[in-house]
Amino acid sequence: MNCKIPNGIDMSQQASWCPGCGHGIIVRLLAEAAQELGIDDRMIMVEDVACGEFAQFALKYNTIMGAHGRPIVTAAGIKRVRPDAIVVAHPGDGSAYSIGVESTLHCALRNENILALVVNNSVFGMTGGQMSPTSLVDMKTTSSPHGRSIKKDGSPIDVTKILGQLDIAYLARGSLDSPANVIRTGKMIKKALQKQMNGEGFCLVEVLSPCPTNWNMTPVDALEFIKKKQSVTYPTGEFIDKGGAI
């Protein structure tokens, strides 16, 4: 077994996330996939305003820091003028499914040839763990202290039900709750990048990711929460795979 930190990771800096946060794993998976595909130099990241933006310190790739909720549409903008670049928008679930949901939907409808790599930790992490569009029913957050109520707060959003019938290149959901699922998620990310290289169109990979700090859990308990709760509401797997040449 050869497990080497991929070249895209900037090892001169400490990863900036909280202990046990999934962001660091996701960023590494992206860098592994890019290295395997030989596209490190072509990568352009479009970051969101929130915990994910620390990727700009963790990664060596050229990066645009977008506005909150806009990385997907900003990514589509640069991809249109830089078709040789491999462009990855890196929003959280609050960005992609709440404030930016119109652009998530319409970039999918236009089949923009980008990867939306959505980190789903079911909270607004950077602001301190408020209820997000993917917070689970009964989940206690700092803005749903008695638990998320469907009556009061509305239902959680499952992106596979929103985009599941659209003519896009790829839609998948991975999880970080075990080494096996981390490997599986890495394959999804790599497949999506390959599809962008093929020019197949819009790819969205959502990753169920632990937020121990805002879930008030140890990192290890947070993995259990993903396994027993989060991935029950949000099943993992490949939902759309246009089947272009990989």
Partner: protein, 351 residues
């Protein structure tokens, strides 16, 4: 050079393309929509990208991405839609990214209405979005000038790595006049060392973000003050009409300035020494035009299509509060020469 008959909005769009603009993303709103419609077929002809976006927010944030990629990128809107652009304009400013945004002004706050107006003056000149910033604001007064200012707007934006706003209005945008179009130019998207692109050999990592993260808060303060001071020193543009001996000086821009100019001619026939300063840049406001005036000037009359006389503040500041400043404002109509002249006569008696 031959002239063609064109609508203001279409002349603007064509001149942007001829300046090398190869990216447009926007959303329909009256009275701006002809720009979007024109771009929808013409952009393809010149090999650029046209996207009718899901909203104005998407339009400006897509422009942000395209402009980071080095393209000459444009979005346009009006009134309510222009308010939605403010988020992205603030980001362009904070990140030092050049782009061009047109506001084809209509009247009113909220929905208002679709008629010509100049009520976005404060929003255009004071920043409009959050944080410390100004944008360069160009105010065309004819179809020809709409094309001419569009043509230079991208150069200005890139010179200062800063967004440029072109503020026309429903009248300028909708009217048809003869126009001489500029030459077609191609823009090299790799021209600048800050553009985000696939990394070339031995190239360092490039990040576009809040500029102050690069240089630290302290240096950012002086950097930003210096940037705006440079723009103020270099980019004030105006037209002065008969100001050399004027006792009353009108101050008007855009469509209002055309009426004001006609009033000057009428006044002169009556022996009234009336002049006009027409700001072509609303920011930086042409203070130099006021500094050049002689001591014979008794007062200023601001003529504009806003209820509250939004430009009055700038006239007071530009003349150092040295003379009285009054205003004549219209809402849904363009100002009238007769009303300007009766106001001028009143002022001559008063001052």
């Amino acid at each position: 050079m031959t002239k063609v008959l064109m609508k203001g909005n279409e002349a603007f769009a064509e001149a942007c393309l001829r300046a090398g603009c190869r990216f447009f993303s926007g959303y329909p709103i009256t009275p701006q929509t002809e720009i979007l419609e024109y771009m929808s077929w013409r952009m393809e002809e010149v090999g650029g990208q046209f996207i009718q976006t899901e909203s104005e927010l998407a339009g400006i944030n897509m422009v942000f991405g395209a402009a980071c990629g080095g393209a000459r990128a444009l979005t346009t809107s009006s009134g309510p839609g222009f308010s939605l652009k403010q988020e992205g304009i603030s980001y362009l400013c904070s990140s030092d990214i050049p782009a061009v945004i047109a506001d084809v002004m209509r009247i009113g706050s909220g929905l208002g209405d679709i008629f010509q107006g100049q009520g976005d003056y404060w929003q255009l000149t004071r920043g409009g979005g959050h944080g410390d910033y100004h944008t360069i604001v160009l105010a065309p007064a004819s179809v020809q000038e709409n094309a001419d200012l569009a043509y230079i707007s991208f150069d200005l934006a890139e010179k200062y790595r800063h967004p440029v706003l072109v503020a026309s209005d429903a009248a300028i945008g909708q009217m048809v006049e003869p126009v001489e179009l500029p030459e077609m130019k191609e823009h090299d998207i790799n021209q600048y060392d800050w553009v985000i692109r696939p990394r070339q050999k031995d190239e360092k990592q490039r990040i576009v973000w809040n500029r102050y993260w690069d240089i630290g808060a302290e240096e950012y303060v002086s950097y930003l003050r210096n940037k705006y001071a440079q723009i103020e020193a270099n980019e004030q543009r105006w037209e002065a009409v008969r100001t050399e001996d004027a006792e009353i000086v009108l101050v008007a821009y855009g469509i209002s300035s055309r009426v004001a100019k006609a009033s000057v001619a009428m006044a002169r026939k009556e022996g009234i020494r009336l002049g006009l300063i027409r700001p072509i840049t609303l920011w930086p406001f042409p203070k130099k035009a006021f500094e050049a005036l002689g001591s014979q000037v008794k007062a200023f009359l601001d003529v504009e299509m806003s209820i509250l006389g939004q430009m009055t503040d700038d006239v007071v500041l530009a003349c150092g509060n040295s003379r009285p400043v009054e205003y004549y404002g219209e809402f849904s109509n363009v100002p009238e020469e007769k009303k300007i002249l009766s106001k001028v006569r009143e002022m001559l008696e008063k001052y």
